[in-house]
Symmetry: C2
Subunit: 452 residues, 2 copies
Amino acid sequence: MNKKDIIIIGAGPVGSLLSIYLAKRGHAVKVFERRADMRKENISAGRSINLALSDRGIKALEAVGIMDAIREISIPMHGRFIHQQDGSNAYQPYGNAGQYINSVSRGALNAKLMDLAEQHQVEFYFHEKCNSINWEKNDIEFEKTLSQHTELRHADLIFGSDGAFSAARLGYQLKHDRFQYQQYYINFGYKELHIPPGPNGSFQLEKNALHIWPRGNFMLIALPNIDGSFTCTLFFPFEGTPSFASLDTKEKVQEFFNNTFADIVALMPGLTDDFFNNPTSSLVTVKCYPWVVDDKFALIGDAAHAIVPFFGQGMNCGFEDCSVLEQLMEVHGDNWNTILQEFQQSRKPDSDAIADMALNNFVEMRDKVSDKKFLLQKKIESAFSKKYPDQWIPAYAQVTFSPHIRYSQALQNSLKQEAIMKEVMALPRIEEIWDQPAVEEKMLELLSNQTQ
Amino acid sequence: MNKKDIIIIGAGPVGSLLSIYLAKRGHAVKVFERRADMRKENISAGRSINLALSDRGIKALEAVGIMDAIREISIPMHGRFIHQQDGSNAYQPYGNAGQYINSVSRGALNAKLMDLAEQHQVEFYFHEKCNSINWEKNDIEFEKTLSQHTELRHADLIFGSDGAFSAARLGYQLKHDRFQYQQYYINFGYKELHIPPGPNGSFQLEKNALHIWPRGNFMLIALPNIDGSFTCTLFFPFEGTPSFASLDTKEKVQEFFNNTFADIVALMPGLTDDFFNNPTSSLVTVKCYPWVVDDKFALIGDAAHAIVPFFGQGMNCGFEDCSVLEQLMEVHGDNWNTILQEFQQSRKPDSDAIADMALNNFVEMRDKVSDKKFLLQKKIESAFSKKYPDQWIPAYAQVTFSPHIRYSQALQNSLKQEAIMKEVMALPRIEEIWDQPAVEEKMLELLSNQTQ
């Protein structure tokens, strides 16, 4: 194998995992990160961020042997715990028994990946910001943000894994003729809030669930942390009533939470401080193409395809990028032209698909999960899927628990399922007959029509 | 009135026209242009570019009293002159008698606008490239490209009219949270070619028409110049067969033109030289939002909404931006916050609409105009429109000859007309009965159903 000098821009979870894959194949890998080393300094700044690690991400972590260590800092979440405004609750399992997603701290996961990378001789450089890339010479100018000195660094191969606001991508956009590019913001932002642990590190809500307070046009969610706390995220309109703009005093925030999230407000003693100290962040979808230049540059992870978080797939998708790249390295050896070409051609339709599904899922989470007809539909699908597991995998399970199904295929399948369920839900008196054989026969018939 | 120091970035047709509108209201206007003064140096570089000036643009030029001078350098084009591959021709009038579009040289038009602007004390600065904008202080850093010195310039109000690849917009994109942005390239490029004048400056093709050689997946067009020459533009795939990539020798180009454009190839003695000397340019659509910052910055023209040229509306749309801004200045006086807000809110849906219509029109021009059924449909629409002019203005005429109809309204109207014509063209034996009363009655009935 032809050993390459590789530079990765961005030491986030995807860049760190990618460095391990590349180093294990014998390449000399350096990773440059604009920010400080998160293992030495707290850089979360009110954005601690919990991730929902699921099977696509797990598969990529298992391949480098780090999943056992990650499991120790993860909390299984077996379903959605729905908190209605009237105080009632509902629980929706994510899949079959044994299928769950994992709440894990982004920072802790990232730190473990960097530690492992260093064990494989990956070199990390912090406080180095990518200023520009010379695409002819494959030189990168980095600015050392502590001294403001700049330094030119050369690499045979460069990966831009520097996230949704990628500096590597911006340079590419400016230099590359016919670069397709779209950044799309939804009119909602998010803000992190906090539920501290109870006495003796106890969990003050059901531990093994992802909690949702769906409120129609907005929602609050909470994910468990291993110290007994929960990280809450409010997804909320920027403008209008209510919105981040309208809740402009501590009194208004407190009153709004008292009325809207009555069952949890007592568990949030720092609510109003958090609300005004933590930043309000925006939610962007980025689609672009191409991602690569010859055998010498590729965008990967959020830098290539940033998505909104409502399917819990952003990091999983980025980790799956690494799995796919690994397979292509295995097949094509030193032929980096082919590896990178096939990488982008394979991943583009899949990342487009999960981007669209993630946007759609926002409506499901904030609104539909409290709709009776939607819940009945899920119940019918679930029962049918249990009886005919080969013919019906619910869309959520395809994306979350079925890494062998490509995102693009999952999207196609889900559209077909939706068409069938639309007919099923339109059956007269479906609320009464949903578990009768006639409904099951109707679904089998519609399925068989589709496949003809 | 509160006199403002205004800087316009970009001295193209829109920036130059805008400067006149602003100067006439008493503002102190400076225009900065990256390139040389086109009145002193030839900067076309194989992109002479003819524009199709039509009623929206004319209205904006008349308002500053320059239209008479422009008419002298324009050539009316009353319709499309279609050159089929089999050597046959067809002629399609653009509208009713007296309705025509105007072939005018971009350079000549631009030069006249700059001359007029200078008569109104507008100051032009050339070879000054916008490097960055300080959005807090409203300072712009310009790089003098001849000396490479940079200079900081301040303005109360800044307009970015620097085109599809706007430097002003890029700075805005980087600084503005939640900036919606999309650049979309079609898989076709264009290349300019040339038909010189005949003996004594005679025209070698019908003078008062826009010539089209529709060839299914690609097309050639030609617009007349006042010296008797024609500027031809080949719209052609980048890849595939045939494409810019496949025609890689002079012999291949000559043979391809001999076979594909047999009726014109003898008129193009410089064909193969032009083909390899002139650049291959790409075709981009840019959509973004917002366009303005408070009372101090606005994008305008292509910088705010670049479109493909297939409806002949790019410049007309940019000029209409100026007309709309003028009306808002008239209504709101010194209230620039309101002027700019209403400007973007009014123009965004209209520029989105013409962007989409321009993309759709590519298919019509390169393919449908040689389709018999399409031609019949246009004939039916035309006859109906003549009889019921208040109830049916063809879409092309709405966009081109009806500046009182907004682009967004024209798009809505055209979708409704398409729905009606789909039903009409599906009538049995429509080829035979198209001019019978039954067809007319059907159209009246469908129209009346729509408006109910």
